[in-house]
Amino acid sequence: MDGKILSGELAAIISCSMLGIGMLTLPRTITEKVHSSDGWIVLILNGLLIAVFVCLLVAMLKKHQVTNYFTYMEEAFGIWLSKIVGLLVVLYFIGVASFEVLAMSEMVRFYLLEDTPEEIVILTLILASVHLLTGKIKAIAKVCVFFLPLTIVIVLFIYLLSVRVVDMKNIQPVLSKGLLPVMKGMGSGALSFFGIELFIFLFGVVKNQNKVKSGVLLGFFIPVILYVITYILVVATLSVPEVKAVTWPTISFIQSFEVKGIFIERLELFLLITWILQFFCTHAIYYYFAAEGMTRIFKNAYTTNLIVLVPVVFILSEIPKNTIQIFKMSEMLGYVFPVILIGLPVIAFVIVQVKRSRRSR
């Protein structure tokens, strides 16, 4: 990998890869499981839990002086097994990349361009991200650093104008049914935390290794805070039973008010546009890691992999045929996510630890 990134850029990449489809559906997915308005507690608890684990992971990676995760896996699993594991990881990356572009095309089809063929929307986005990815991680970092503040400012501005329709009574009572449903709902937010696992693969590229932890945590908490605000505002506006009933709760929420007096009456357009940028970032980042992973496994050229992945991602994103299947796909990816984030690094760490201590003996 040529070119190292700063810890601030790391934060931007992590944030951008987390802010994807999760933000638009999260009030529903969480409320469905929790059955009350306590989803924000789930989000906060989940966030803190993952943050603690992330700190632990950083310490682990630092201890073993990991510069590249695929080389590290080779040390842990041996050459052949590591290739298989690596391939599975790459498959997951391809899966998420296709899912994000698919979700975007679904949103665009429904709210913006009804008659434009989905294939065109999908292909345009894939090709645009391939073009970006020829610049490797440094280019992605620059795009993320540019898009992230824009997204945050626009989203917060829209939220500020929503205050009139928010009814805080709807998110009370807090913990009406006790902690148990909250605990049960803990797994439901997984989709929203997609993206945090990428820092394991980014670990070696950061210039100043001592700042990795602060970069990752900053990048992690920006979306988490946005999620909590989103959840509270959306549920407070739509009420719990309604949130469970609508497909895109965050967009429905923004459609429930309009601003008079300014030339921008309808704000959902701005959210949609910003979110296309976010979908693009998320997609590009996952795409990059898929290509990068393949380069490590097959030891071929990075550019070849970029091009090979175009039809793969395209076809994969063509498989789910309706809204239900799209949400099913996200559920499936939700099961793999903890394995990549928690299972894999922990197992790799233990094996490497054992191997290294044996060698030193």
Partner: protein
Amino acid sequence: MKRLWVFLLIPLLSGCWDSENIEELSLVVGVGIDLSKNKNEIMLTQQILVPPGYSLQENQAKLKFKNVTVSAKTLHEAIRDSLLLTNTVLTNHQRILLINEEVLREIPMEAIINQSIRDNNTRRSCFIFLTKRPTKEILQRADDGEIPSNVIYDLKDNEKRTNKILPTLTLGQASSSLQSDGSFAIQAVDIKGGKLILQGAGVINNSKLVGLMNNKDIESLNWLNGSVKGGIIEAVHHGAPFSVEVDKRRRRKITTELNGDQLTINISVGYTARLSEDWYDKENSFKESYLKEAERKAEEKVKKDVEKIIWKLQHQYKTGVAGLYRYVENQHPKFWEKNKEKWDEIFSEADIKYQVDLKIIDFGSKGGIK
């Protein structure tokens, strides 16, 4: 090789797939729903804007809108059928939805607004009104060529000046309420003296229209809800009428108590006000005791009105339109969980105590007579 890129870029210049010429679109500003004469069908009236200067030469005083009416079994079918008469309809800018009383007696409201909620273009911020007359008639009522939908839309801005208007009900709110306890009041529109007027309201319970309210009831309901934003309280003291203008809400507090299964709801609201008119010939507003007396009389008047509406809600409509269930849910979640199915019953038997506290802070530019 470099030139190849230029050729590849050409398709991008060919324009947008979804582009449509604006003069070929029908911008819908208002929609009305009636029962059709055909059995099991509903009638949909769409009010469509006609761009100014569209046919300037023919007729100067041409209307700024046109109405398209079609009937079908479902609303979406009706919308599609309307395409036989007009250009592609665009509901992005729909401001109001009028529903005829008869419709809500026959068809659940949930079903009536279903299409609009599902639709990707109609916004959840569009307002819903009830009508006694056929909505078709209301949407045709144009004074000075104004667009009826916009007239109705703007009328609701007056809620700062009068308390005979219910807080506006948006499509989104209606949908949320129908998902929750399903009872709320909706403002009605009528024609009086050839003009469009906001008058009366309907009470919806479980998606059905269960009763009608007059302006007096609306006023009392607003007091009960604490949603009064302005307007006048008329009362009598020393045998002469006087009016107090409501200024600002200072507080609103609702507590609920449970005694076994008996629910008590305590509501207390506080407002500042102005003595705006007084017919008593020995008025002396410069004296504090005089104002205190007026305050008390006005409070009594409000309290009496509110008690009447509480009685009506509990015995006539048997439903908690006022959204009080939220407070029960929040303050006694366990009780609510157990009893939410029979909330209407519990509400009807609840003990509702209402307190109003008015503070007259000024009396205008005149305070005494003689």
